[in-house]
């Protein structure tokens, strides 16, 4: 039972990170119908910006909560700018073209960011400075929760609530929902759709960057290719929850995090090797899509001639 609680905590930790990244995928897809393959790389950029901020501002020397806050917010702001730049210079010019073209552009941007980082910084992993004095608290007997896990839960819940507030209570959020419902009608209603799309990319990128810095606290190793597989799984999480649906992305992220941890923890008992960790997300996705073709919380769109 104790290990079960422990697995649950670990699974939710990874799941919260997936959820943060999945939110960016789902918002961009909801508005542009674009699979933003570069989003996983923005997560990586966020972690690296945090790394350089920590060293440049002198927070790498020792743990400090102020340092963590500055690094987290700083990397979110810079990643948001990167996300907006990607949208402005790569996606906006091809927006009017076919889906295939935008998709290849997204893959191109993803490759560009990865290769640029590998060429500049090398592919070897770097150790992220610990900004949090690591400490474990015992929970229900033998299960333990570490400070970085508490941080991940607290920050991700806070950010998700903030996002929910932005989407449903602010003018920008109303405009975002209008654009996602119908871009052209929204434009006719006087909404500056370009600006709204830009803001959507900024929000998604900031969340991914937060995910990057938080992951780096939990597992302090960062490398330029860390965004590929994490990004892919976060995208799977977004599709699983119903792409374009904000609560769905969170649900999908948590489910995939839990499933992965349970496969590693209990898989051997039922004959599933731990190496299937990376396959389980896809297996769940395929099973769910076969029975609910639009994901868990997605709504069905009736196709008309």
């Amino acid at each position: 039972m104790d290990t079960f609680v422990q697995q649950l905590i670990n699974g939710l930790t990874i799941g919260a990170i997936y959820a943060l990244i999945a939110l960016g995928y789902t918002m961009v897809y909801g508005i542009l119908r674009l699979i933003n393959f570069a989003h996983g790389d923005i997560y990586m950029v966020g972690a690296f910006v945090g790394y350089f901020l920590a060293f440049q501002l002198g927070f790498a020397a020792g743990p400090s909560l102020v340092g963590l806050g500055v690094v987290l917010i700083g990397s979110m702001i810079i990643a948001a700018l990167v996300g907006m730049a990607v949208e402005r210079f790569a996606y906006r010019p091809v927006r009017k073209y076919s889906r295939m073209t935008t998709l290849i552009t997204a893959i191109g941007v993803s490759l560009l960011i990865e290769n640029l980082f590998v060429a500049r910084l090398g592919a070897a992993p770097r150790a992220f400075p610990q900004l949090l004095r690591e400490q474990s608290y015992s929970l229900f007997g033998n299960a333990a929760i570490s400070k970085s896990q508490i941080l991940i839960f607290a920050v991700s819940i806070l950010l998700m609530l903030l996002l929910q507030w932005i989407i449903f209570k602010t003018k920008v959020g109303t405009a975002m929902r209008a654009v996602s419902f119908n871009l052209n009608s929204a434009k006719l209603m006087g909404i500056n759709t370009d600006a709204i799309i830009s803001i959507t990319f900024a929000l998604g990128s900031a969340l991914a960057a937060a995910g990057g810095v938080l992951t780096a606290q939990y597992n302090p190793q960062i490398d330029p290719l860390m965004g590929i597989i994490t990004g892919l799984k976060a995208f799977v999480a977004a599709v699983l929850g119903g792409i374009g649906n904000v609560p769905g992305a969170v649900l999908g992220g948590l489910l995939i995090g839990l499933a992965e941890t349970f496969v590693v923890g209990y898989g051997q008992n039922i004959g599933v090797p731990t190496t299937f960790r990376d396959a389980v997300a896809f297996a769940i996705l395929i099973l769910v899509l076969l029975f609910r073709p639009t994901g868990l919380l997605g709504t069905t769109v009736q196709e008309k001639v």
Binding site: Y97, M100, I107, F282, I286
Partner: protein, 369 residues
């Protein structure tokens, strides 16, 4: 329509050209002329990529079903045939050599391996296609990607084929095989596209609902073209494995599937010559960029991805669009006869440039954020 005599002549010239090219690329060279192994390798990989791109074009370019799982089927073909050649190949070849001679036995065994690879990949395509092809657009894309990753991870866990350490495979492939099967793939896909089935596939691409209303069994055609496409990808996998002589599941990650998609989008979706062109460009580009001066060669992959984005920004429909490049293009340049449509449309297959949005670039219908 060329006459039978002309066709036979063309085929004979093609075969001779392949044999000459094969000799030219071999270690001995043709009449003392040869090319360095590095160039030979690039040409071989380009040939294998041609097979992959042309086969993916059948399902994605002509049928409009967006698949990002091609590397998975390639892996299935590569590993299943390698299992055959590694564990049974030599014994069978020896016993067969006593009956028909060494060279013929060698050829027969590899033909068998290609057949097995293609069949197993076709079976995998069938198993993946039947459930997945009910989904559309991006959902289909992500499910095919998921299946390909699952295939890769399953292979990674089979110790008989090397698992994570990789699998050493005997070498069988030479340019004659790659060139020959590239031609065969192109002929197969060309004939499918210009047949009843091809028209059904293109009608599915243009409007699936309308095609269904016209009495086309869309599921059947989609699955059929998916299976054929998978079988051809499996064949490419067999050639790839027996050329590199070493298989690692890292060669079949989803980035490989992306690469094949990039080839067909770059060349122009729904254009056969475009797919061939795109696959050659994408194979050569990173190699040519190795020649960048001094320190800049460190950035060759950066330049490569930047070029990719620039091509998409400046020529979004791909280099050829849906047009075909052929001899009739050159003729048309001199004199365009009355009433002649774009090349490829002459057989009644509507492959002219899109004038109205097709299912691939249809506006989004509605959303829920």
């Amino acid at each position: 329509m060329p006459t039978l005599g002309k066709r036979l002549l063309a085929a004979a010239i093609l075969v001779l050209a392949l044999i000459a090219m094969n000799a030219y690329m071999s270690d001995e060279g043709l009449f003392g002329f040869g090319i360095p192994p590095y160039y030979a390798r690039v040409i071989m990989l380009a040939g294998i990529n041609v097979i992959l791109a042309v086969s993916l074009n059948l399902i994605t370019g002509f049928t409009g079903q967006f698949s990002i799982g091609h590397a998975g089927f390639m892996a299935v073909g590569a590993y299943s045939s390698a299992y055959l050649t590694v564990y049974y190949g030599q014994a069978w070849e020896r016993s067969l050599a006593g009956v028909v001679g060494g060279t013929v036995a060698h050829v027969l065994i590899f033909l068998l391996a290609i057949l097995v690879g293609a069949l197993v990949a076709a079976l995998a395509g069938l198993l993946v296609g039947i459930p997945s092809l009910r989904l559309r657009g991006d959902y289909l894309a992500i499910v095919t990607l998921g299946f390909a990753e699952i295939i890769r991870i399953v292979i990674l866990n089979i110790d008989k084929v090397g698992g994570a350490t990789g699998f050493t495979v005997p070498g069988y492939t030479n340019f004659l095989w790659v060139g020959g099967f590239a031609v065969i793939t192109i002929v197969i896909v060309y004939n499918i596209v210009h047949s009843d089935m091809g028209r059904a596939l293109i009608s599915i691409r243009e409007d699936e609902l309308a095609a269904e209303a016209m009495g086309i069994n869309t599921t059947r055609y989609k699955v059929l073209s998916f299976v054929i496409s998978s079988a051809l990808a499996g064949m490419a996998g067999v050639l790839f494995g027996h050329y590199t002589q070493f298989l690692s599941t890292n060669d079949f990650q989803f980035i490989r599937s992306f690469e094949i998609i990039i080839m067909i989008v770059l060349g122009g979706m729904g254009s056969l010559t475009g797919a061939v062109f795109g696959s050659i460009v994408i194979t050569l580009l990173p190699e040519l960029l190795r020649k960048l001066p001094g320190d800049a060669s460190k950035y060759r992959l950066v330049v490569y991805s930047a070029l990719l984005i620039i091509i998409m920004l400046t020529r979004p429909q791909g280099i050829l669009g849906t047009r075909e490049f052929g001899l009739s293009w050159l003729k048309r340049a001199r004199k365009r006869p009355e009433g002649t449509q774009a090349v490829g449309a002459s057989n009644g297959v509507p492959m002219a440039e899109h004038t109205k949005p097709s299912s691939l670039d249809r506006e989004k219908e509605a959303g829920n954020l």
